[in-house]
Symmetry: C2
């Protein structure tokens, strides 16, 4: 059995991972502990050399990035030699989108000899197989809206933008940007009625085409369902095997309560 470190960001994903991999060590960065599990190793992005040494001392050979990490202000005055040497590459990546930055993070850990695993791979039951998970079969109109929202996301994919979009009756009601799905659904909820052709609409969540699933997997949870219902949507379509379904019992309860459908498709 190999030793795993969970590099923990915000959200339910690091919690789920640490519950299923009880021998794993959790790493919290810059004083923010999202793991709700001990032992937690506190580290700083400014001192990656210290982190790598600590992981090696604990015979960690595999790491997994889990949960969303905001881009904290870095304090160059406390950079250790390792971070200082990596700084030019980090600075370049910071100018681009999330994919580039997280791709660099993976590359750095791999260069240090760690195997970088994906959360979906360590915990396959986190994602959903293709099929109707809850609610009634979507209508032709709803499937067409799901198709339209998917087309939007695929068009944006090469630009490293968009893991979610909402379409209703052939109109696009919103496209997810860096603020995330909750903010998107809140925005959609505020759409004046006279701009909407009819009630309903579909949220599609899917990774970008060719996205490395070891970082930044899209996720839905009970809160996503509740917000989708508040936004007047009639259903949610997720990419089978590629979207994390968090807190499934509570999520399924929320789906049943809201009357939405939840469909996993091969996207």
């Amino acid at each position: 059995m190999t030793n795993l470190a969970i590099l923990s960001g915000a959200g339910a994903l690091p919690v789920a991972l640490s519950q299923h991999h009880t021998n794993a060590v959790c790493v919290a960065f810059n004083g923010v502990d999202h793991s709700h599990q001990s032992p937690v190793l506190d580290h700083r992005f400014e001192q990656l050399g210290v982190l790598f040494d600590d992981l090696r001392t604990r015979d960690v050979t595999e790491v997994v990035l889990a949960g969303s990490m905001s881009r904290p202000p870095l304090d160059p005055s406390v950079f250790d030699a390792t971070t200082a040497a990596l700084a030019p590459r980090i600075m370049v990546a910071l100018q681009g989108g999330d994919d580039g930055l997280l791709g660099l993070v993976i590359a750095i850990f791999e260069e240090q000899g760690f195997v970088v695993r994906g959360a979906h791979d360590l915990l396959p039951e986190l994602t959903a197989e293709a099929g109707l998970l809850a609610g009634s079969e979507p209508t032709k109109r709803e499937l067409a809206d799901a198709e339209f929202a998917t087309d939007i996301l695929m068009a944006l994919s090469p630009l490293d933008v968009g893991q979610g979009a909402v379409a209703a009756s052939g109109l696009c009601l919103g496209i997810e940007t860096l603020q995330g799905t909750d903010a998107l659904l809140e925005f959609v909820a505020q759409t004046p009625d006279h701009l909407r052709r009819a009630k309903g609409g579909v949220l599609v969540k899917t990774p970008k085409r060719g996205q490395d699933l070891r970082v930044d997997m899209p996720a839905i949870g009970p809160e996503t369902i509740r917000r989708a219902a508040t936004a007047g949507l009639s259903g949610i379509v997720i990419a089978a095997g590629k979207v994390v379904v968090l807190d499934r019992p509570a999520l399924m309860a929320a789906v049943e309560e809201s009357g939405l459908f939840l469909l996993a498709r091969d996207l």
Copy 2:
């Protein structure tokens, strides 16, 4: 001199047109008068035959669609024969995006023998020639953000989505959907600081690629500037010759006051 009818929707555009074409008749639809000018002919979408006859009686040969029209609920019980005959085509177009619907409106007027003009063509000074209109020259970073936002809009263009997008320091902060530019900027303004890499950011407004400029031209006005400033942006880039600049004196005053730059580019 030909006789012009201004088919008036919401916004400042029908007002500007009627001020410059004082002989034109204004048409208001379904009881909503946006023209602020007399004479106004009240018509209903349900009775297009009555409209066409009225325009011909007044020797109207040209029409211009100006301002945004929401999709009002139609009352089939009052359809006249002309609208009833057109209903199947209208119903199909209502399922699609704005471009398709407005394209049909143009086709219908042309079939009735009217010339459909564009507002930009009747009032060329409504748009801006390429060049810096106000503020200081944008930085390399700001130009790169404008490029990124433009790439996003061009990628979405074939899907009939998006006339505006905001990028800041290489990240996309928002993409305009049917709620319009004001809603987009309000959304951007609510972005938590920790998600933004730095202050600033650029709004790009451009028509969709290949869009018929006789309908649904993108527009900016003084309120756009104020909302962009509130959203923390540093500038606005518009497509030269293809974006309506409403109420220019007030807009230029707002630009100067906000410290934003306003640049028209050949997009």
